[in-house]
Amino acid sequence: MDHPLARSVGVTETLTPPSNAAGSSWERFESLYRSCRDDVYAYVCTLLRDPAAAEDVTALAFERAYRRRRSFDRRRGEERAWLFGIARNAALDELRRRRRIATLVTDPSEDSTDAGEGDGAEVALRRTAVQAALAKLPAREREIVALKFHAGMSNAEVARVLGVSESNAGTLLYRTMEKLRKACDATA
């Protein structure tokens, strides 16, 4: 089957990776920052479920990317995937740190989004069910959702960040969506 590599659009207006390869490393980084700041924060926040920690991790990820911007090798992938790889490592380090100090995490869903304020009752219920189902997902599956729907990545980009094949990433996404659907149905 001829399966096109579809790209998520409409999630954010800054999805296109910077293409001014001829520019200086600083200009490229600044462009990357402008296009990816919100996506990185959304991804990290969903993964950590802690807005304050997500801010720290996002800032750390961009600082690391800035320090290592000259070591970026375009042959190994796009800058966006490279940046999300850095953010992922920083977020996982934060998770490890948390596990060591055994702190509780909070659910950021209420604080971080104002979506749904104008929803009808049925949609609001549905949204609540989806949020509850998402919160129950293991971190690995929540990460897939974060990359796909919150960071606005294509399946190929998700695969690159996770270090798996594109078909493997697609299968993981499919299973996660099926889980969410079943959880929502059960709630309903």
Partner: protein
Amino acid sequence: MRLLEQDPIDPEIAATLDAIDATLAGDPVDARYAELAEIALLLASDRPRVPSEFARSMDERVGRRFAPAAGSAGAAQAARRRRLARRFWETTGALAAGVALIVAIVVVAGGGGRGASSESSSSAASSAASSAASGAASTAASGAAAPLSAPVPHTSTTSGKRTAASSVAAPSYQSLGASNVVQPPTTGRKVVQSAQLNLTAAPSHIDAVAQEVYDVVGQVNGIVNSSTVTQGGPTGYANFQLSVPSASLAQTMSRLSQLTYAQVTSRTDNSQDITGQFDAATRALADARALRTSLLKQLANATTTEQVDSLKAQINDAEASISSDEATLARLNNQVNFSQINVQVNAGTPPVPVSHGGGGFGIGRAAHDAGRVLTVVAGGALIVLAALMPLALVVALLWWAGAAVRRRRREQALDSV
């Protein structure tokens, strides 16, 4: 989890993924994916938003290129860190330069002694090569008039004649100047001197070296007894048998050691004391002459034919003996007055000339020392590299293992949440 190979995807899964992408793109999807599309839209709309305060703070930090804000504790710490780093690198650089300078001085100062021993060993190889070359090369020999008369049979006894021989091999070409010619004390003694000189020259300069040798021999009124010069291709060889006045031996050796196109690889000086042989020959000659005088007197007083015939025969014998002794004396005198020098020139890469000007520091010496310093530095670097290679491998292995462990722990952290 790390499956990078591309596997074929299930058509149903592919269709679902297409429907999700179409939903996110705002395109209509098939009714059977309606529920999935709704979930996708709800997930997308639930995207955490960046707090405006954080966004402003991040923009500022990026605008400062992540430098600490001026006046903050972080800025002071960063400045202190930069100062320490600069001081560290300045100190390290100064130490490295000092060590390099000391190494260079040690190498240059110790270069002479090590060079001498190495040149000595190369002289042996050169001699061996010349021996081989002399046997293999096709030669064009040119003979010159021999300065010595043919040996005359000497009937006088030579027993009891004192003979002393000595041989000195020069340690290196660097000590072969005119002032370093090895000569035994010759006061009142009859000493025969000879020398062997091995030179190395570029194959293309064999002819030029030969001409230089001829010029030197001409300047000291010497004689080329025989010469062999072979040139052509990458090999070349020349051999000269020279006779020079013994009084000019030191001067001749000095000049031969300073030829423009050749370098001395080894030198051997020989001397043989023949005072005993000379004295014996002189006494024999005096005896023969006294005998002849006596016989001539007897002949004058002879009265019978038989006496006259006998005395004439004895006089003839005495004169033959006188001639033989005179020839022996002449040969010995010639050996004493003319020294034999054998010069061998072998093709090869001549050693780097140090200095012909008495050991002063010049461009050639500087280039030689610079070459030695570079050689030693390169050798040292090679040794350091060889020593560091296993260490680097271990470090790389540890780094790789550390990265693998860190990656695994991160994945475990994801699974444990």
